[in-house]
């Protein structure tokens, strides 16, 4: 029995997968409640399915990017459960997880608003390979890369509304958008995707922040500048 979870965006999503199919899935959009609601949500779907913690055989977790705090809530939960129940854990990029809503399309771009004109973005092909590495990038710069590919791209994002007109302007008819209702994280798809992937040592599983802490970035910049001065 596989347990999957993601709290990297405003959506909390948990699911159970019995190695054949998704048997439980619960999603709730409520940004500031992940900490209070994740464990009760897991408890609830497991009770529904009459599954005990000892019945779990694997955990799949969305490891970001997204809200730093949100990413850590699911990751701390998943790491701890996997370690203490002595079962494998698989970390999947939350961008990748989001892109699963459009899997099968030629090129799928999933992205998240990272504020101040920045996005976290990924691009995957039909087979699920990463076409471009996942990045934290200015939206304009990202769209330039997509224009250069000169191919149709399907966009999946909970923050689509913020960028849809800009994307349409830059990519024209090559931009395709999944219909409403297909832009939120779904732990069911996450379980489906992660069920056969090789696990990571729970101690070594770390968030996929795609971004340095601001204080650290500034510090590194200063080190570089100091070196240059010398």
């Amino acid at each position: 029995m596989i347990l999957a979870m993601d709290t990297s965006t405003d959506v909390l999503s948990v699911s159970l997968h019995n190695n054949q199919e998704i048997i439980e899935e619960y999603s709730s959009k409520n940004k500031n409640k992940h900490s209070t609601r994740l464990m009760p949500a897991i408890d609830r779907i497991m009770k529904e399915a009459k599954v005990t913690p000892q019945d779990l055989t694997k955990i799949v977790v969305g490891m970001g990017p997204g809200s730093y705090t949100g990413v850590r809530i699911a990751l701390s939960t998943a790491k701890t459960m996997a370690w203490t129940l002595n079962i494998p854990v698989v970390g999947v990029s939350s961008l990748r997880a989001l892109s699963l809503q459009a899997s099968g399309d030629d090129l799928v771009c999933s992205f998240l608003d990272a504020r101040r004109g920045l996005v976290y973005a990924g691009l995957y092909d039909k087979e699920g390979n990463e076409v471009l590495p996942e990045v934290n990038i200015m939206i304009d710069e990202w769209l330039e890369k997509l224009v250069a590919l000169n191919k149709p791209v399907t966009f999946v994002s909970p923050d689509l509304a913020t960028f849809q007109s800009l994307i349409r302007e830059r990519l024209g008819e090559r931009a395709q958008f999944k219909p409403k209702g297909h832009h939120l994280m779904r732990a069911g798809l996450l379980a489906e995707y992660g069920k056969d992937l090789a696990p990571t040592d729970p101690h070594l599983l770390v968030p996929n922040y795609l971004r340095l802490v601001e204080a650290e970035a500034k510090w590194l910049e200063k080190q570089k500048a100091d070196q240059y001065d010398r």
Binding site: M39, S76, A78, H203
Partner: protein, 343 residues
């Protein structure tokens, strides 16, 4: 049937920059204790960067837990409850501990106990000797300066607190004036030992009879004194600045603690928190209470700084009362001590 003795509580503490876990038996015996400190990561920034602290916690937490169990030669099957600091502290840091504790409790269907960080600092003393009520505790740390009266386990009455900076915060600010490395408190303490109280800095007592504290005026006085001396071309000795500052802080802390101990007729006086490691404060308290009926309890240095053993010590009382938290337990960065005691 609930067990009543040989209760092992696995406790977690991640409220600031230490990732800590411990196993405590019956609220007073440390079976094992692990603290992964992040001081080196924050040093270059001159203080704790909350996001960096949270990132370290999520990376180290399960390893720290494993080490705590290994050191104790125990498995989760030997654990009776999981305790965790729920607040106050840095919210992102607390959340890692809370999520971890809930996952552990859920995985093994164990009771979960949320603990107040300052209650933890107070109960660190319980790991040394049993409390004698009523007791008075002087809590002094980077985030807190409080005088707390306890008449029984788990009930806290705050009779005085700082109106501005916490005591440890004042130390950090003065450390910056003196240009000593982070963390500043221990360095100022060390310098002070080599200096003399020559600057006549103010002793800030506030209104007659008040048990509240204020340190921002003292900090400004240090800055002004240093500035004025510089203008006059006088070179003040760092050691004297540190000593003068420390004497002013310690005198007020000791004096108010002593007065409160008399007024409330307490049997025991204890100190708690990071600044309780300050050598001059420990020495001055010992001197002041040397010939008194009151029992003065000063925890060893290792139990003054943040650790998880103290959290497990608090949780034992909740375990006995079967006062458990739900799986919806949240991090509460502004958790109030008195309110926490009342629930």
């Amino acid at each position: 049937m609930i067990k009543t003795d040989q209760i092992n509580i696995l406790a977690i503490e991640t409220s600031c920059d230490e990732t800590a876990a411990a196993i405590i038996q019956d609220g007073h015996t440390i079976v094992s204790e692990v603290v992964a400190t992040q001081i080196d990561s924050h040093k270059r920034f001159g203080g704790v960067v909350p996001e960096i602290a949270s990132r370290h916690h999520v990376e180290q937490m399960t390893q720290v837990l494993e080490e705590a169990l290994t050191k104790a030669s125990l498995t989760m099957a030997d654990i009776d409850a999981v305790a965790v600091t729920e607040g106050p502290g840095l919210v992102g840091a607390l959340l890692v501990g809370v999520a971890t504790a809930k996952a552990l409790a859920f995985s093994h269907q164990l009771p979960l106990i949320g603990v107040h960080h300052i209650a933890g600092h107070i109960y660190a003393n319980q790991l040394i000797e049993p409390f004698q009520f009523p007791l008075l505790c002087l809590v002094v740390s980077g985030g807190h300066t409080e005088l707390v009266i306890m008449k029984e386990h788990g009930v806290y009455e705050v009779i005085g607190e700082t109106r501005d900076d916490a005591c440890g915060e004042a130390y950090d600010k003065v450390a910056r004036v003196l240009d000593v490395p982070y963390p500043g408190g221990p360095h100022v303490d060390k310098l002070a030992k080599l200096g003399s109280d020559t600057l006549n800095l103010p002793r800030i007592y506030l209104e007659e009879g008040s048990y509240d504290f204020s340190f921002s005026g003292l900090k400004s006085a240090v800055i002004n004194t240093v500035h004025n001396a510089k203008q006059k071309g006088i070179e003040l000795k760092k050691e004297d600045i540190a000593c003068s500052f420390q004497e002013s802080v310690v005198e007020v802390l000791v004096d108010k603690t002593y007065r409160a101990s008399v007024e409330y007729g307490v049997k025991q006086v204890i100190i708690a928190g990071g600044v309780a490691a300050n050598s001059r404060l420990r020495e001055a308290l010992r001197a002041k209470f040397s010939d008194k009926e009151v029992n003065l309890s000063i925890p060893p240095l290792a139990l003054c700084t943040d650790n998880a053993a103290m959290i497990g010590a608090v949780a034992f009382n909740d375990y006995q009362k079967q006062a458990f938290s739900g799986l919806d337990l949240n991090a509460n960065p502004g958790l109030d001590l008195e309110q926490y005691g009342k629930r």
